[in-house]
Each structure stands twice: as C-alpha cells, then as structure tokens.
Symmetry: C2
Subunit: 483 residues, 2 copies
Amino acid sequence: MVPQHMELQKKLKVENFAEWFEQTTLHAMIYDYRFPVKGCGVWPGYGFKLRRNVLEVMRSLLDNSGHEECLFPLLIPRGLLEKEAEHVRSFQEEVFWVTMGGSSELGEKLALRPTSETAIMPMLKLWIRDYKDLPIKLYQVVSVFRYETKATHPMIRVREVTTFKEGHSAHATYEDAEKHVGEMVGLYKKFYEELCIPYIVSKRPNWDKFAGAICSIAFDTIMPDGRALQIGTVHHLGQNFSKPFDVKYLKPDGTHEYVWTTSYGISERVIAALIALHGDDRGLVIPPKVAPIQAVVIPIPYKGREGEVYEEAKKVYSELTSTGIRAIIDEDDEETPGSKFFKWELKGVPVRVEIGPRDIDRGVVTLVRRDTLERKSVARSELLTSFTALLDVLSNDMRSAAWKYLDERFYKVKSLDEAGELIKARRGIVEVPWCGRDECGSTLEDNTEARVLGSPLGAAAEKGKCISCDREASNSLRLAKTY
Amino acid sequence: MVPQHMELQKKLKVENFAEWFEQTTLHAMIYDYRFPVKGCGVWPGYGFKLRRNVLEVMRSLLDNSGHEECLFPLLIPRGLLEKEAEHVRSFQEEVFWVTMGGSSELGEKLALRPTSETAIMPMLKLWIRDYKDLPIKLYQVVSVFRYETKATHPMIRVREVTTFKEGHSAHATYEDAEKHVGEMVGLYKKFYEELCIPYIVSKRPNWDKFAGAICSIAFDTIMPDGRALQIGTVHHLGQNFSKPFDVKYLKPDGTHEYVWTTSYGISERVIAALIALHGDDRGLVIPPKVAPIQAVVIPIPYKGREGEVYEEAKKVYSELTSTGIRAIIDEDDEETPGSKFFKWELKGVPVRVEIGPRDIDRGVVTLVRRDTLERKSVARSELLTSFTALLDVLSNDMRSAAWKYLDERFYKVKSLDEAGELIKARRGIVEVPWCGRDECGSTLEDNTEARVLGSPLGAAAEKGKCISCDREASNSLRLAKTY
C-alpha cells in the first residue's frame, strides 16, 4: 500500500483526461478502480483520509445548521420504492434487485437504495405527530447503487456510489420548504468554496428534474475535458412523497396536513472535481483544508552533517504537528530527496518543508508550494506563522485559479451555430437566450449534442431572441456536454 | 424525533429483557426497529451519536496501532465468494444475492458481502509485491448482510448488520500473524474496558470456528436474560485465503511465499451489550466516555427567582461546554423539572446538574448520578473539578458493577447435571472439565441445549474428569445458551 512510483506523461491531463484521472488516483492511492466488479472502486488508506476530511467539512456545515446524522437501511422493498409513481419510473431501469436469500427466492424483491426518500418516508410517518415536531432535518452518508448501462468512470459514473451524502427535511408549509431549499443552496456554496471548487448553479429544466421533485437546483463544474459535471443537487419535493406515504402533521388549529419535504445530495463526484481541477502532470494538488498531509518535512543531508540535518528536521516536524498541522517527516535514508519530492508531489501534499545544511547555517527553512512549485526561505524563528500564512495564500490562490478556469469556460452566446461549435469542441458551458418553453429547450438537446443544465436562478429577462424559435427571450439556458 | 415519553414497566428488564430492550432503544431514540424489512433497523440522531462515539474509541485504538481505514465495495461476484471452499459453504445459506439490474438478469450473481475477506484478497494481490509491503493492517466500518432465518432481534441478530468493523491484516510469517492475533485480542480488551463491558475470552472449538480460519478467538458477555452474546472475534486465517486468491510476496532470498492473514470484527452487538448491561427500569445508563450528552443542566425555578436561576444555569452550562464536556441545557419552561428528569434518565445521560434558588444561596450545584441516582452538592467554585472527578468515579463504578455482574454468572462445575441445570435456568456461562476431544465437546451441545463458546486461552490442564466421557480432563469448555 505504499505509493507507486509512476511518472505521469507530460500533458496527459490535457490530452487524455480520463487516463490521467485513473492513473493519478490509482498511483496516489486515492481510489483503486481495479476491483473485479464493473463500476465499483476501493478507497485505500490515503484516499479514505481525503474522503473523510471532505465529509468532515460537510458534516460540520450540516450539524451547525440543525441537521442530525442518521442511518437508514440499504434494502427497500419493491412496494415501498414504487409508491411514488414518477420516482420509480425514473429509477426502475437503474435499480439493482436482491431476489434471493441463500437458495430461497424472496417473497418480495428488495432494491439496493438508489436514493433514500422511499426508505425515510415510512419512518417520518412514525416520527412526526404535530407541528412542534417540524421541521425535521436529517442526513446520512451511505452507498447508493445505480445499474449504469452507460460507460462507467472511476468516482464519476459508478455503480456503487460509495459517498452519497443525502439530506432530507420535512416542513409545515410550502414556504418553509422553499426557504430551506435556499439555505441548502447557500450551504453547498460554502462547502465548494472550502474545497476551492468553482460551480455554476442552475434551476434544472422541467423535463429533467429529480424524479418526484417540483423543483430541482443543480451545481455543475467544468472538468478538464470541457464536460460539465453535476456535483450537487437540491430538490423541493412538495407533497409528492408525503401524500403517497401518508405523512401528515397536526396543525395548531386541530386539522391535519401533509408535510412538505426536500432532499439534497452530493457524492464522491465532489472529490473527483477537486482532483481534476487542481491536479497537474505531477499528480494531485490537494487544498490544505482537506489534505490528509498538509506538510511533508524532508531532510536534505550532506556528507558530514547528516546528524545535524536529521535532528533539525525532527524539530521542525514536532513544531508543526504540535500546533495541529497534519505534518509528516520522510526520514527514509535509502531514498534520495529527489525521489521523495516526486512521491509527495504525486500525493498532492500542499507544502514541502526542506531542511539542509545551508538552511541551518542561514537560520531558515525552505518551503515549497505544491500548486506553483515556488520555493521560499522563511526565518526558522517564524516557521509557524509563515507556514500558516502560506497555507492560506495557497488555498486562496487555488480557489481563484479554479474560478478563473471556470469563468474562462463559461460562454454567453446568441446563436445556435456558435453554441453548437463551442459544445462540439468541448469548450465548456454555453448560456443562450431562451423563450422559456420546454419544447424549445429539449429540442436544443437534440440539435447540439449537449445536455441542458438549466437556467440561472432568479435571473432577469435575457435580452435577445430564443436561439431555438426566435421568439423574444425571457430566460436563458445553459448547455454542455456532460458526464 | 423528540424523545418519546414512555414509562418502562417496573422490573421489565429482568422479567422480559427482549421487550425492555426494544422499548428502551426505541423510546430513547437509539434504534428504531419498525422499518418495514425484517431484520433491518434505523439509527436516529441520538443513537447515531452513540454509535459514532463507540466507533471513535475503536478507530482511535486501530489508528494508533498502524491500521489504515479503507472502504471496499459491497458487491462480491459469486466466483470470488466461492474461491475459499469452506468459507462459502458456511455462508451460502445466509447470503443475499443480487440477480437483476433494472429488468435484466445479471451475467453473474452478486453477493451482498457477509464479511469482506473475499473482496479484500484480490486487492491485496495487487498491492503486495515484496516483504517490505508487509505487514498490511487495514479496517473498514460497513454494513454486512446475513439472510437470517432464525428469529431476529434488534441490533443483536439482524439481516443488515450496519456497524461491522472488520479488521484485516497480511503478514510474512505464521508467527507474525499469530503475534498480531494476540495484539488484537489485547486491543479488543482495551476497547471493552473503555465501554465498561465485561467479557470472557475463549478459543472457539474446532467444530465451530470462523469459516476458513485455522484458529478463532471469541469475546462473549452475558445478557440480562442469562444468554451469552458474542461481541467480538479474532481469527488466524493461515494461508487459507492467500492460496486460493494467489496472494504472494517476494522474500529477501528471492523466493515467493503466500502471505498469512488474519481478520477480526466487532458489530453493533457491542452497543447492544452496553445498553443491556448498564440500563435499568428508567432506561439507558451510558458510560461517560461514549455518552452523546454527558451532562444535562436543568434549572429548577421558584416563583420570583426564575431569572436568577436561568441565568445561573446558563453560566454553569457554558462553563461545562467550554472545557469540552458534552453538556446541554434544558430550558423549556413549559415542561416541569420532574418530566425533564424522566426524559434525560431514559436517554441515559450520566450526570444531571440541577440548579435551584437554594443551590444559589448556598453557593453549590447539585449533581445527580444516573447510575445510582445519588445526589451530591458540590461547591459552585469547584464545579469543573468535581464534575470531571464524578465522571471518572461513575465510569469506574459502572465497569466494576458490570464485571461483578458477569463474575456472578460465570460458574465452574464438575458434573453434567449441575451444568445442565444452570444452563436450563439461563444462569449464565458454565465452565466444565473436558478431555479435549472434539466429539465430547460437540455431544455436550446436544445434551445441554447449550452452545460451546470455547476453551480458556492458554489455560493449564483442568483438574477432574471430562464431564462427557469421564476421561482425565486436559482442558475446559465454556457452555451457555446463546443468541
């Protein structure tokens, strides 16, 4: 389980992103996609730590906004899954079914949850009595399963989604649920900002909402191959689930009403985006906030002064860890410093701390940033201050660079030809004027080989003509090649 | 999701333990077993926090002993599961099979993991090259599935085991693996001590080892109904898995050898034991180390002095939380203090902190222990010291009481009649002299309606005659009714 020594091809990320992604995540021990079931991958130790740190950011946001973490069963009986008609219609071709226990046929088929609305509603029915029990906000982090028939991609389109954080809420009124949807959009924005991931928020089109939702909002980012990747969604489910599941509450006036529910999810696609957007031809570049290792201390011994260098390196390492910085020291004297640089660069450690005899003589320490590979000598006596400041600078620079990258790939165009060309060349996301009618939107998908991501949230009327029907535009649509 | 106001029947725990357990865990919001699939339960917020705290104790022990947390897929192809012949023979009647994706039959049936040896071995084959890669120690916390045909019990015998912590290791030699088994037995002991759970460690008998193991060691405790509950196991797997899965390593001498593996697991049965052993007719009693709430501050307002009491209660609450104590304050002025006592006793909060006008006048705070319900006034100025000391006393007393309870239910007897009577009356675990021959052990199971738990680890020869065949005893066997 040691990191593999592999050399990434120059420009591999740009020229063959899929290959770069699979190689990098494998050799940095983030995700091993060689498990012998299609669409199922393994998280080895280093990847697991990255995943845990990313989830901790999310947990902290959710816990601080009144959510409770729960755990619901994996197996959903067919009858339950089919209660909300539209929901099952959308999922039925993607559901894995357990049909046998031992050598016996089960009485009722059991679905591996594709998402948990239908598992949670029967429990909400038991838990909710009156208005004082509302709102309820809960979440769980679980595996969900989709029998994908399209090409699978590690972390991005898998059959076992191992890191599905699904939030669910129930409210007394439509307006409360709507307000909560807005708050969760805000919460997700904070989450992506912490991970230095840029995003575009769109209201999903009517013809492509979450199955059972009255309104879906999606976050997309743009991958290095120019395709959009959906990295989060928030849904207002209205009473579409509470009615078939008969989840009511007693109002102060003594009458009963069905609750209003919402749901919202992210998955390991967030981690895929983080890796894809920040990585380079040397490997990963992990934002300090979630890096399993924030600093690697590497002694650079010279003949005759080895003892001194190792000792100083140890002191620096202790100082860093004592303040809670996730640091390690790489003291292996059978490996050259160059080989160590290479290995920890592959693993995306944000800062390398080098200590050689010259540093000691000059009373300094050398810090090397992973993102820009810039070197900088800082006074030994100010190590902690300088180091902490550097982590902040690095985070901010990574965030800005990623936003710049996204902004450069977001186009507003007025003609179908222009839009079609940009999409064909996989340049990113294209926003076009739109009359607001579903049929114009969905025909665009046919004419451009793109998927519609949705419209801006609460945008003012767009000037210009609908690029599909030439009527006066009242809105915009975003189009892109997608995963 | 508020705690339910329920009154437990007096002596319910002693007279109908199963009913007490289901009611207590439900009403304290630890575990809701009303999910509409047999053998599958839900962890609501409060129970999830208890589960998380218990797992944190385990994670910390494992992380500090060189383990890496990982995550392996749920779905195991039939061919993989069947590679180790004895393993599959034991599990095949208990495996849930996924046979369909959407409306298509799958080419190869996929098992929901009953345990993960067969999922991990193919990855070890990819990860291990030479002796420098060994030992590998890893673990994961996942759901495993067993198609139980026996009666199910919440947390204790379920179809979805939601909290399976499985550890796996690979070593260069038999001896290294054996040494690791010993270390893991030691690690589990520490774990149970932290949770104030008493245990008996036995070497499982030859005819009832883990499927594929060359040696299995089990931890048992005794439940309030006198039945033994297996709460942990550690297995030396020899080369039984590495051979069929072809997991070899390169030795320093240039030859290859199969690795030696071990595995070890605990599940939510540990939480069930914790609840069962410490709870009483008022509900749960949770050991401070893992209590989601360690202290509940309850103001006891009197007419005219309400403001003062609430203010003081808030100060006490802030003081407690500021030092990292998991405290809450129950300020709801529509509920009587008595009703609050009742509610937080049900939830097992270790210490109640009461503040009334008399406490303020006397410069004291009243602390009430959940385990003994003893009240104690402590000087307000020494609150933190007194509170921390009380938590320690409480933990130690809970641990001692639980060990005393177990010791009183552990019998050493010399005759079959005596053993049979104790077991029939469900008095606990019975140890008897044994000649060491398998056939004597297994016939005992038929003659006493008990299961054999195993023999003492490294015990000296037991004096007396084998209670089955009357030959000279060379060892002992432990028998009990089990779950």
